[in-house]
């Protein structure tokens, strides 16, 4: 009798190969497998490793061809990295990988004061602003207001050094809901509104005349506020 339980080794191998050929999953299924492995993998995966992880008889290289076609023109691409493969978001959609966060901050006290002086005294030079505030004005503060488009450069002053002046913009009026810079309340109104803690000085200086002390040479800025 022949020993049927132990076939010759060659036959066994052949049989296994044959079986695995029959057992290999359909190509569509292999594509799914490659897709899942590449999706979950932290690194690009070599074809050999794909084959090792997939059921016997699978042909990762062929599945990759199909998968590459499937992802053409999509939001995700199948790309080759050296001798390995990876899924990556389409390069043209890189702009989606950012999130815009808008943060609103209160303007600094220095900036508010500088802005107020420009609004009440425009056109006004930096030296004049410093004189009114009693402290120097940093370049950053002015830049910030320029960038916010709340102030802009006015005409140069016809005085030694021809310093630039600053004026407020339409954007400024818009933001603060003012028809014109003339609509800014005067000192008297500020006081009536309780914005001034101190008692009125004997003379109750109107804004316009206070201006004169600051800048005797300046012409034109005060008439805006004269009633």
């Amino acid at each position: 009798m022949t020993d049927i339980t132990t076939p010759p080794p060659d036959d066994a191998q052949d049989q296994a190969r044959e079986e695995s050929l029959f057992e290999a999953p359909p190509l569509g299924e292999q594509e799914r497998m490659v897709e899942a492995i590449l999706f979950a993998s932290a690194e690009p995966v070599k074809v050999a490793e794909l084959n090792a992880r997939m059921p016997h008889g699978s042909d990762a290289a062929e599945a990759l061809v199909g998968l590459k076609k499937r992802y053409e023109g999509r939001g995700v691409h199948l790309i080759r990295v050296g001798d390995a493969w990876a899924l990556r978001t389409a390069p043209d959609l890189g702009f989606l990988m950012q999130k815009e966060v808008v943060e609103t901050r209160k303007l600094s006290r220095a900036a508010i004061e500088t802005l107020a002086i420009i609004a009440y005294h425009q056109p006004v030079t930096r030296a004049e602003i410093e004189e009114i505030r009693g402290v120097s004005v940093s370049r950053g503060t002015v830049d910030q207001l320029l960038e916010l488009e709340w102030i802009r450069f006015g005409r140069r002053r016809m005085s030694p050094g021809r310093p630039v002046t600053y004026v407020v913009t339409e954007e400024f009026l818009d933001h603060f809901g003012l028809g014109s810079a003339r609509d800014l309340p005067g000192l008297k109104e500020l006081r009536q509104a309780g914005l001034l803690d101190n008692r009125p000085p004997p003379g109750d200086l109107p804004l316009g005349s206070a201006e004169e002390d600051d800048d005797p040479d300046a012409r034109g800025q005060s008439e805006m506020f004269e009633e």
Partner: protein
């Protein structure tokens, strides 16, 4: 965990198998999560749907279990004994007709609720098992292996209100001009200042406190300052008394003046 395959008959625990099952339960007493868990395990020996279970039989099974544990000198946690006492009570309620005028729920109501608790616990156990049998992330399905960072682009916008602007301007325009005027009053404590100072403090003056302890720091030394501060503080205390917020007393002429908070809850 013991899964008793054999019935423990309520009247006859004679067969060796049954005794073994009962002992297995007892030996495993630490494996139970409380008396309800034990009851649920015992109930399985009835081999019926939980809805059709005999609570009376179950009570007897439980009491027998506790008896045996005692015989084996196993120490049972207190809640097992509390349950035993309660089941004994339930048993008597179920077996004896209710006495006329007896208060509280009937034996049937109590038994029904216990059955509900058992059924609910059983249901939760089954759901827990089903939940854990589901496909799980990181075990059956997987997330993207190389997630990409989302860059956060911060845009800062600055705002200010018209009020800010006006206050800012008022601050500049007024800071020099009026200062001397205020400085004249440097060495005088006004009634308003004293009131401002006392108002937040009196809330804490539950006991009689000497009025002089309310003088601001640094006003007690120089006689001129002290005089002004004492006068203002006294005037302020009169004002607060008038408002009904404090009480004021003086034991005799020239004795220290004392104040304390008036309890508003009294009126």
């Amino acid at each position: 965990m013991a899964e008793p395959e054999t019935d423990i008959e309520t009247d006859t625990v004679t067969s060796i198998d049954a005794r073994r099952a009962a002992e297995a339960l007892i030996v495993d007493v630490d494996g139970f999560e409380g008396p309800l868990d034990l009851l649920l395990t015992l109930s399985r020996t009835q081999k019926v749907d939980l809805r059709a279970i005999s609570i009376l039989d179950l009570a007897e099974q439980y009491l027998k279990f506790v008896d045996q544990a005692k015989k084996l000198r196993l120490e049972l946690a207190a809640d097992y004994l509390v349950m035993a006492a309660w089941l004994a009570f339930l048993k008597s309620r179920l077996l004896l007709p209710p006495e006329p005028g007896e208060e509280g729920p009937s034996g049937e109501e109590l038994a029904a609720h216990l059955a509900f608790q058992l059924e609910r616990l059983q249901a939760m156990r089954e759901q827990a098992a089903k939940l854990m049998a589901r496909d799980q992330k990181g075990r059956d399905f997987f997330v993207r292996g190389v997630p990409e960072d989302v860059a956060r682009i911060r845009t800062v916008t600055y705002t200010a209100t018209l009020l800010d602007l006006m206050q800012g301007y008022a601050r500049i325009r007024t800071k020099d001009e009026f200062r001397p005027y205020v400085m004249d009053r440097d060495r005088i404590l006004t009634l308003e200042q004293a009131l401002d100072r006392m108002r937040p403090l009196i809330g804490f003056a539950g006991e009689w406190t000497d009025l002089t302890s309310y003088l601001p720091d640094g006003w007690g030394g120089d006689p001129a300052l002290r005089r002004s501060a004492t006068a203002a503080t006294f005037a302020a205390s009169l004002e607060l008394t008038k408002e009904g917020r404090i009480e004021l007393r003086q034991a005799e002429t020239y004795a220290p003046i004392q104040i304390r908070r008036k309890e508003t809850t009294d009126d």
